[in-house]
Amino acid sequence: MVFPFDSIIRSILLGSLYSLMALGLTMTYKTGRFPNFAHGELITIGAYTSAIFSRYVDFTYASLIAALVSALTGGLMYILVCGPLLKRVGKILFLMVATFSLGLVLRSLIALLADIYGVMNIKPLFVNRIIISINGIVINTLFIWSLLASWALVVSLHLFLIKTKLGKKMRAAANNPTLASIMGINTDRMATLSWIFAGMLAGVAGSFWGALSNVTPYVGWLALLTFFAASVIGGLTSFFGTIAGGYIIGFAENLLMDFLNISLGIDTAFKPLMPFMIIVVVLLLRPSGLAGISFQKALSMIRGMKRW
């Protein structure tokens, strides 16, 4: 009996990677209230960096280098393009178009370089050992590592945002830039920091993503709309909503899809439709996603239902 367990393991693995990617998207969205369509390219850059460096150093270090490079790219994206544009034009639509073009430029640049050096489709050197194997249910190192890494990152990011002064400043700048700048917080610097963190998360996610599938110039772009769904479930603003969204997408895309494939015979080629449908449904029914739901309210609602 492989079906549910196999899919569940894959769902958890992909869900944790999606939540890493989507968290970065949510963080950048909060800095300027515009979705960053170039976020996928941060993942591609991470994937390529780790795939190339894993030939020379251990995969762990390669991932760290990937995180650094992606973080740097994320910061530069804000400093060079989005920040100035936000100050000068300030129209959300223009920012969206600009990030879209930025993504296109980076994607084509990566593809151009990859074409020259003949690395259009590579794999990082990663020894994927089997740790547990019971009746065909396989838990391997990749699963453990990506789960550990994503949770370590999420928890430390959460602690950083909640406990440290800098984290508090960042949250203040994201929630109300005007008020924050009155209080003497350099909102621009905080926004740059958010983009750097977003790049870092994307770099780590991209590094594992590359080990999971292959690395091509389009990995990030192909994943973009999928983890957008996770962010949309979180209302594009909520930290925990986004993490939950990542897992929801992971499970919908794997467990639910496999279930539909086995029970109804729907072709797995329609797999990417799942996150798209989720985006459509969430946006049409509840555009604020999980962000608007207050935990207390939900609890009291459930209690009320019980009594009734």
Binding site: L93, S108, L109, L273, V280
Partner: protein, 336 residues
Amino acid sequence: MVDIVGLISSTVIIFSLYSLLSLSLNLEYGYTGLPNFGKVAFQAVGAFVCGAFTAYAISFIVGSTASIFSPESVQIRIEFSKMNILPTVTIFIVSLIAACIISGLFGYAVSKPALKLREDYLALILLIFGEILRLIVRNYYPLVGGTHGLAAIPNPFSWSGEFVLPLYSVITIIVTLLVFIFLQRLLNSPYGRLLKAIRDNELASQVLGKESVRIKGQVLTLASSIAGLSGGLYAFYSSYVVADDFIPQKTFDAWLIVILGGAANNKGVLTGALVITILDRSIQYLSGLVRFPFEVNYLRYIIMGLIMIIILYYKPSGMIKEKPVKTPAVQVLKHE
């Protein structure tokens, strides 16, 4: 010896296709403020309709029972279009009209739920709509052959031998001019002013009793049918449709033309289309002369993306600025 006629006519066709798509985007984004990031979907609908309709119609007329994707059907279509002038042209015209209508219906269907959303969500949902459509068509074989596509959609002028492209370019440029004149007439009227009012301040226009959601729906429907027209013309030009042709990069091309040329100014959009066509062609021409160690399309997208970012930063109003609506009332004011 360079084929001058072929070069000019293919340039004219590409210019017309770019212009049609960008004019329809300009109607949505420039005049009404609808951020349509899924423009390519409506073009795709037109192309699919034209491709499938033509193929099925010819199979029906000839009485062939073979699948429209089989090599013999391809042969039948090529032979048929060379021999029968009148049916081919009729099929061409009918399928273009069908493409317009069906794309318009798609636009209307999408507008119903989507237009209640905020600007960024609307853009996202239209982008997603385009991808959903592409994905479904890609994995649904009977319409246009899934990933393999549908080949040999006969050009309406196949019978004319070497004059296929020149004749076709005349048709496309005439269609483009007609659409341009129609849009100029439509938008230099109180209706055009109404669209701009909705774009600039939706709440105020609602206060004045304008049903903004309904009017935006009309705009999306009309613009989608124009996009469908461009898709249909594209299908007959390339004589091959496949779902993976209609990727979001095409939407980006239209956006670049509109923003480069000048939003809410149709003449600006035509200028922008001309610039991009020339850029496109010269990169293509250059790739014939110099052997690049990479695919030229990447270079094209890098240049286009950089142009877009620079334009957005330094001159967001585009090459030709928006002008006031030329209704008769404005002209009377000018004369006094």
